[in-house]
């Protein structure tokens, strides 16, 4: 089986491409590392305080004084983007990690155990998904107040049902495979079935799902901040920066372009990295 698996992994991706794959993956990793460093050290490098109004003009263009222009109040965009990295990168990574871990664990467990456990868990998560996220966000603010951990958990709660549903669908399919049936007949535990037989086989799609879910979280973050949940002014995450400067779009203001570019580079590189990861990971898991 190991042989055919390796064959299959190699077959659609000729070795010639394999090198470029790694290059793309490495590029992705470099960009992620870059933003991670900015998230840690960015605030030390910022030329101005992110909340300080330093320019009488607004939506001003790039200049020697303000490298990335100024925002709708005349605040320095470079400083604001450096500061926003901390929120966007940190919160999104934490939230997506929780979401996918919880979703996959629950999904696999439900698929392997099946029966009533599966049904009850699925219905409960459907019910969670049934609460409109606006209502959910407002309830969270009203009930437990607003802080960064609450924001991370809220994001995770919003996306877990989706991650669960997708992981479960994948796992249910694998669960019917002969080798799983054989393993079950051998008397293997649920834990073994889930981690050794199912997990390696659903990892590819799960990671693809993680990449997309990461993007959603990055974007939804700003919406929740506007509900008053999480990042508080004068700080803002990148999505929030785009949102608050949207009026500058018709003027082509850098204040709306650069945060969007920052979001795009981060999300694209995360996905580029993930897309080029599975071959290696799968090799290791066997």
């Amino acid at each position: 089986m190991t042989l055919t698996k390796t064959l299959a992994a190699v077959l659609p991706t000729p070795g010639r491409l394999g090198y470029r794959f790694n290059l793309a993956g490495r590029t992705g990793l470099c960009v992620i590392a870059f933003w991670a460093l900015i998230a840690v050290f960015g605030p030390l490098m910022s030329p101005y305080a992110p909340g300080e109004i330093v320019d009488w003009d607004y939506f001003s263009p790039m200049s020697g004084q303000f490298w990335l222009g100024t925002d709708y109040l005349g605040r320095d965009m470079l400083s604001r983007i450096l500061m926003g990295a901390r929120y966007t990168v940190g919160i999104s990574l934490a939230a997506v990690a929780i979401t996918v871990t919880a979703g996959v664990l629950l999904g696999m467990t439900a698929a392997v155990i099946g029966g009533w456990f599966d049904m009850v868990l699925s219905r409960l998560l459907d019910a969670l998904n049934g609460i409109p996220s606006l209502l959910f966000g407002l309830v969270v603010v009203a009930a437990v107040g607003s802080s960064i951990p609450v924001l991370v958990l809220t994001l995770a709660a919003i996306y877990i049902p989706g991650a669960y549903r997708y992981a479960r669908a994948l796992a249910v399919n694998i669960n019917t495979m002969d080798y799983v049936t054989v393993a079950r007949a051998r008397g293997e535990t649920t834990f073994y079935l889930a981690t050794r037989e199912i997990f390696p086989n659903i990892l590819g799609p799960v990671l693809a799902d993680l990449g997309v879910r990461f993007i959603f979280i990055v974007l939804v973050l700003s919406g929740l901040s506007f509900l008053g949940l999480g990042v508080q002014p004068p700080n803002a995450d990148w999505g929030g920066l785009v949102r608050e400067n949207l009026e500058g779009m018709s003027l082509g203001a850098p204040a709306v372009i650069f945060p969007s570019v920052a979001i795009a580079t981060l999300t694209i590189s995360v996905n580029m990295f993930i897309d080029n990861l599975p071959v290696k990971i799968r090799d290791r898991s066997e």
Partner: protein, 537 residues
């Protein structure tokens, strides 16, 4: 940006020139004014052209327009008593009439009333115009007015002006076209109060508000809450000159950018509440212009005097010195506003006290006060929300100023949802937003009297209450003004409400729309635009 305009010229200046023309300035005066502001003669000439175009022209009848406000929801209503949002006001102004109308500059005009008379400001006699018809053909009589006004006294109506209406202790029919109103206490402002949107006159016995039966210039053709309202011209309207339009549609576009885009693309001809920052986009466009009016709405920082840390007088003093009013006006409001001096009567009011100077921005002085209050270095939260316009931005301005003197002010942005019932008036330090009111009496009674329902800083002064009552019943304008001047100084000094600036209302107007004038009740001509605007050929 076209070469037609000098580069430092903005729509704001356009608005200034326009208002000068309205005040009757001659071309020579204006050119002198422009020269003084550094605008070349040739450019000045073109500017005058475009500004006078907006003012002087003869109305033309016919056509239809679509206009957009900024708020609509399923709570939209045709019931004047419950009206609360721009969309409601625009709609009821088109379908109903009031007894009186507040026109440009606060001038009071009679609308359904023929004459309002009193000798003691306590007992009022109102005579109605004769021959006014409701849309269903019924003729207006005193019964309709008595019914319309009395409704506000019943709590079950859910009237927004219940507390103002409560002073009318007797509303009685005298004959078919005359009624008598007796007030609990003398109030010289009654004719102005009756010009509020909520006091629109509906037919006697109306309980169903799925459509509107009023006397207004337009007949309600369609009303979908949260979506749109359509009105068609009332052929039997009692005013001979209007309305000019055959029909109008009013919608709401909540998103600022979307509203502006709809105006620029020509999908709508009139847009309310344009963001000051959008003016740059409208500059140099021939198809649209911005109409700016300051009517007295403001966002204020409220520090409750009955709670920590506002109970320390030094803290209040410190905060008042820590507000950089000029920065707020220039950066947050983009210059579209007047600097405020911590009292609610705006420069647009004839009772405004011009001698009362706004407190200077002085961080060192503020620091001194905070030290004395013993709060320097403590973390103090300020509750702000998008529900109170620009409050989040104002809060960051104050926060930054505080950071420079070692004062840790924290901005707590909370949801717009439920802001007015959960945080406003409740949090120790929070922002409020007050809509314009036509008289100082209403402002003070609502906001600063000891028993005021919205006493934002919980400020109490018996002397102030006494002066408020005294001025209310006074028919002598000069004495009344003097009292109001003093009261403004008392509020500015004593209350915990910091009012940094009065905000201007900006309406985006298509250049083929004529007849729009500023109005003291708000933008879009106090929402009564439909009756007065007309389409150019």
């Amino acid at each position: 940006m076209t070469d037609r305009l000098p580069t430092n010229w903005t729509s704001r200046d356009d608005a200034m020139v326009e208002s000068a023309i309205r005040r009757g300035a001659t071309r020579r005066d204006l050119l002198r004014m422009l020269m003084a502001s550094g605008v070349g003669l040739a450019a000045g000439g073109t500017l005058l052209g475009s500004a006078s175009r907006a003012v002087a022209a003869t109305p033309v009848a016919g056509g239809s327009i679509r206009a957009a406000g900024w708020s609509a929801s399923t709570a939209d209503t045709l019931d004047p008593a419950k009206a609360s949002l721009s969309t409601d006001y625009a709609r009821i102004c088109a379908f109903y009439n009031r007894l009186t109308f507040l026109a440009e500059g606060g001038a009071l005009q009679m609308e359904l009333a023929e004459e309002i008379a009193t000798v003691d400001a306590k007992t009022w006699s109102i005579k109605l115009k004769s021959g006014v018809q409701f849309h269903d053909g019924k003729t207006l009589s005193a019964d309709d007015v008595v019914y319309s006004l009395s409704r506000h006294l019943d709590e079950a109506t859910g009237s927004k002006v219940h507390s103002i209406a409560a002073q009318m202790t007797e509303i009685a029919k005298v004959d078919e076209l005359t009624l008598r109103i007796v007030l609990a206490e003398a109030n010289a402002d009654l004719p102005t109060i009756l010009a509020l949107h909520h006091f629109m006159i509906i037919a006697d016995g109306t309980t169903d508000f799925s459509t509107a039966n009023g006397t207004g210039p337009f007949i309600c053709e369609a009303f979908e809450p949260g979506v749109k309202s359509v009105g068609v011209k009332n052929p039997n309207y009692f005013k001979p000159e209007g309305p000019y339009l055959d029909s109008f549609e009013f919608i709401a576009i909540a998103d600022n950018t979307a509203r502006l885009n709809a105006l620029m693309s020509g999908d709508i001809q009139l847009a309310g509440a344009i963001s000051p920052r959008a003016l740059r986009m409208m500059e140099g466009q021939d198809a649209v212009w911005a109409s700016t009016t300051t009517v007295g709405n403001y966002t204020d920082l409220n520090i409750r005097l009955d709670m920590e840390p506002g109970s320390k007088a030094e803290f209040i003093e410190g905060m008042k010195s820590l507000i950089d009013r000029e920065l707020i006006r220039k950066s947050v409001l983009r210059g579209l506003g007047d600097i405020g001096n911590d009292q609610p009567v705006s420069p647009a009011s004839r009772y405004y006290n011009p001698d009362l100077k706004p407190r200077a921005f002085d961080p060192e002085k503020a620091k001194h006060h905070f030290e004395k209050a013993g709060v320097l270095g403590a973390e103090i939260p300020m509750v702000a929300s998008d529900a109170a316009a620009s409050s989040v931005d104002m809060a960051t301005v104050v926060q930054q100023a505080g950071a420079q003197i070692g004062m840790k002010l924290k901005v707590d942005r909370v949801p717009s949802d439920g802001y007015w019932s959960n945080y406003w008036l409740k949090a120790p330090i929070h922002f409020g937003h007050i809509n314009p009111r036509p008289t100082p009496d209403i402002l003070f009674s609502l906001l600063y009297a000891s028993d005021a329902p919205w006493n934002e800083s919980h400020w109490k002064s018996e002397k102030f209450d006494g002066m408020l009552r005294e001025a209310r019943g006074m028919l002598d304008e000069e004495k009344r003004t003097a009292i109001y001047h003093e009261m403004q100084a008392m509020v500015s000094d004593g209350a915990g409400t910091v009012i940094p600036a009065f905000m201007a209302n900006v309406d985006g107007v298509s250049s083929n729309l004529g007849g729009l004038k500023p109005n003291p009740l708000g933008g879009l001509m106090g929402f009564a635009f439909a009756e007065y605007v007309w389409l150019k050929d």
